[in-house]
């Protein structure tokens, strides 16, 4: 599903868009499966579902090179899958299985797949923005033309690390993209009630000499084009970009949050502009027939059903794993 990685802005054809639609459909169904598995007691801890945010992860990933770096947050299932992790690996990790992405040591908030450029999901809000700047610096030092991307929520824009990372990225002209998924709520509280500007990420960018753009984060084409432009800019040596993608989460903040604080009708309004619905409309306009779309959904449904079965049947995480991977030699010995 990374076959569109060489596409430039505005160049996605109907086949490529259909592929992105199918990827979003896989993510949506994986999130539903994660929710259902949690409710049936097969996933412990908590989950932060990104249903509704699919267009940001999928559109952005399609505009990146396979060797670019992505850093995400605790709400990162969609980024992991868009970046090459399989639903099976992700669900197995959530279910504490040996076949999970991190062999049971990461969990929902730390989905990572380094060999496809998914450099991790970080659960301390905003902490990964400086890391993405550092990865971009490394690419600059090594002259590889890679870019680094930090996906983050609107809540991260009031963390010091956000401001330190933007400043450093600007002053060092780093090839990094700061992509804010503004879903209008930081956990349970509307971002607007604790932030003095309308667009918490994009409005701050000019203060650091960085271009900031607000886009429709529910339109996968819009996201793709904006990220493709920003990546091109970064690779040309023109420095970082802040993209604020407006979107909406269908579930609450986490598993325990029924999201009762949302005004009546707000969810319904956003559902009319659901990323899958928007992509569906684009595809219909491009002449993709209804049965092709239905087939894509059907394939997605099968992929996720198989993933759920495989993850359920996988062996549990090996308790011996508790004592591996602290150090580079694979062990955890701290004394003689």
């Amino acid at each position: 599903m990374t076959g569109t990685s060489t596409q430039q802005a505005g160049q996605l054809d109907a086949a490529a868009l259909l592929s992105l639609y199918e990827q979003m459909s896989v993510i949506r169904r994986t999130e539903k499966a994660a929710h259902d598995l949690f409710m049936s007691g097969l996933v412990k801890g908590t989950t932060h579902l990104a249903a509704g945010h699919e267009a940001v992860a999928v559109g952005a990933s399609a505009a990146l090179r396979p060797d670019d770096y992505v850093f995400a947050t605790y709400r990162g299932h969609h980024h992991a899958i868009a970046r090459g992790a399989t639903p099976e690996e992700c669900l197995a990790e959530l279910m504490s299985k040996a076949t999970g992405l991190c062999r049971g040591k990461g969990g929902s908030m730390h989905l990572t797949k380094v060999d496809t450029g998914m450099l991790g999901s970080y659960a301390i809000v905003g902490s990964h923005l400086p890391m993405a700047a550092g990865a971009a610096w490394s690419a600059q030092v090594r002259g590889t033309g890679q870019v680094a991307v930090a996906f983050f929520g609107d809540g991260a824009t009031n963390i010091g690390a956000f401001h330190e990372a933007l400043n450093l990225a600007a002053v060092w002209q780093l090839p990094v993209l700061f992509i804010c998924e503004n879903n209008f709520y930081m956990e349970y509280t509307p971002i607007s009630s604790v932030t003095p500007v309308a667009n918490p990420a994009a409005d701050r960018a000019p203060g650091y000499g960085i271009p900031g753009e607000v886009i429709d984060g529910n339109d996968v084409l819009t996201v793709h084009d904006a990220v493709a432009r920003a990546a091109e800019r970064a690779r040309a040596g023109d420095g970082p970009t802040v993209i604020e993608a407006q979107t909406y989460r269908h579930y609450g903040h986490s598993r325990t949050d029924p999201a009762k604080y949302r005004p009546d009708g707000e969810l319904e309004q956003w559902l009319e502009r659901d990323p899958l619905t928007v992509a569906h409309r684009h595809l219909t306009q491009l002449g993709i027939a209804g049965d092709e779309l239905a087939q894509a959904d059907s394939r997605a449904e099968q992929v996720v059903a198989n993933a759920v079965d495989a993850a359920k049947n996988a062996p549990d995480a090996d308790p011996a794993e508790a004592f591996t991977d602290v150090w580079a030699d694979g062990g955890s010995t701290w004394r003689t």
Partner: protein, 326 residues
């Protein structure tokens, strides 16, 4: 080669040797470039390696350490300077939550070969926010390696090991030792992490010290020699990995243990060492373990007050003498 070199110059020497050897080593920090560092520990590096490899940063500790982490994860070896170790608190998330955990929580997918250098400790009258010895902060976090050299040759040797390590290392340079002098490091000098050194042999008492407390312990040992008290002084050099074996081996012939720490008594590294010896070497002991550490107060400014708080040659000598009378 000069007969002696300062600890301060050894820092730059140690970094320069690794940068010449490995082009993936880069440095970042506040004032480390043309200014040569506020403690003059990076003098000459900017001229030799240029702005691409010696990067001045804004006063942004989170960006410095966070960027070093991201860079280390993606193919280069950053050496980040946090000017005073007190300022590690400004980027503590990275030392407590990010750097030491990322290999583990990704199931071993990530390698983080980075060094965080910092000027640690008191004795120079910088007051409570520029004088702390904070190696015990790092000791509480699984996943960090901790080096703290006491002399110029070890600075170079441990710097080589730290920069070559594929694990993250917090490298505590003691600001009270910067002006001290010692033998220069021989070419290709590497001191393996987790290898304590016996810096003075003795038969009556084992004195374990680290960084600034090594010269203090040595001075106390010299003062006690005419009293027929023979003190063996161990320079721990590293807290993680912790060389417990060298300490237990020494106790086999001394049977008495004194630990001299600069960090506050509460939660100090000596408590971990003491508990290990009590656990595994109780039969070797003929007296209780004695910990000498800083008092549990913020570091005061005035010399007369600071001397009351930090272990001194007088206080260490006195405590060893008392233990020998047990």
């Amino acid at each position: 080669m000069a007969d002696v070199i300062t600890y301060r110059d050894a820092v730059a020497e140690g970094i320069a040797r690794e940068m010449r050897r490995d082009p993936s080593v880069v440095c970042l920090g506040e004032d480390i470039g043309a200014a040569g560092g506020v403690f003059k520990t990076t003098v000459g590096l900017y001229d030799e390696f240029g702005p691409d490899r010696i990067r001045d940063t804004p006063i942004s500790e989170q960006a410095i350490v966070g960027a070093a982490m991201g860079a280390a994860m993606t193919g280069i070896r950053p050496v980040a300077e946090i000017m005073f170790s007190d300022f590690l608190a400004c980027c503590w998330d990275y030392l407590a939550n990010e750097i030491p955990k990322v290999r583990y929580m990704t199931g071993g997918q990530v390698t983080v070969p980075l060094v965080i250098r910092t000027a640690n400790g008191g004795g120079l009258g910088f007051g409570a926010q520029h004088s702390q010895a904070v190696e015990n902060w790092a000791l509480t976090v699984p996943g960090l390696k901790i080096a703290a050299p006491s002399n110029p040759a070890d600075v170079v040797g441990l710097m080589a090991a730290a920069i070559r390590s594929d694990d993250p290392v917090v490298f505590f340079e003691h600001k009270g030792l910067f002006a001290s002098k010692g033998t220069p490091a021989p070419p290709e000098h590497v001191v393996e992490l987790g290898q304590a050194g016996i810096v003075r042999e003795g038969s009556d008492v084992t004195v374990v010290a680290l960084a600034s407390t090594v010269p203090t312990a040595l001075a106390a040992a010299e003062r006690l020699a005419p009293e027929d008290i023979s003190a063996e002084v161990i320079d721990l050099r590293c807290l993680i990995p912790l060389d417990v074996r060298t300490v237990l081996t020494s106790l086999q012939h001394t049977s008495r243990l004194v630990i001299v720490e600069e960090n506050p008594y509460q939660g100090g590294w000596g408590a971990t060492l003491a508990s290990l010896v009590a656990d595994e070497g109780f039969d070797l002991l003929d007296a209780p373990i004695k910990r000498i550490a800083s008092a549990c107060v913020p570091l005061p400014f005035a010399d007369a007050l600071e001397e009351r708080v930090i272990p001194t040659t007088d206080s260490v000598t006195d405590q060893i003498r008392r233990l020998m009378a047990y």
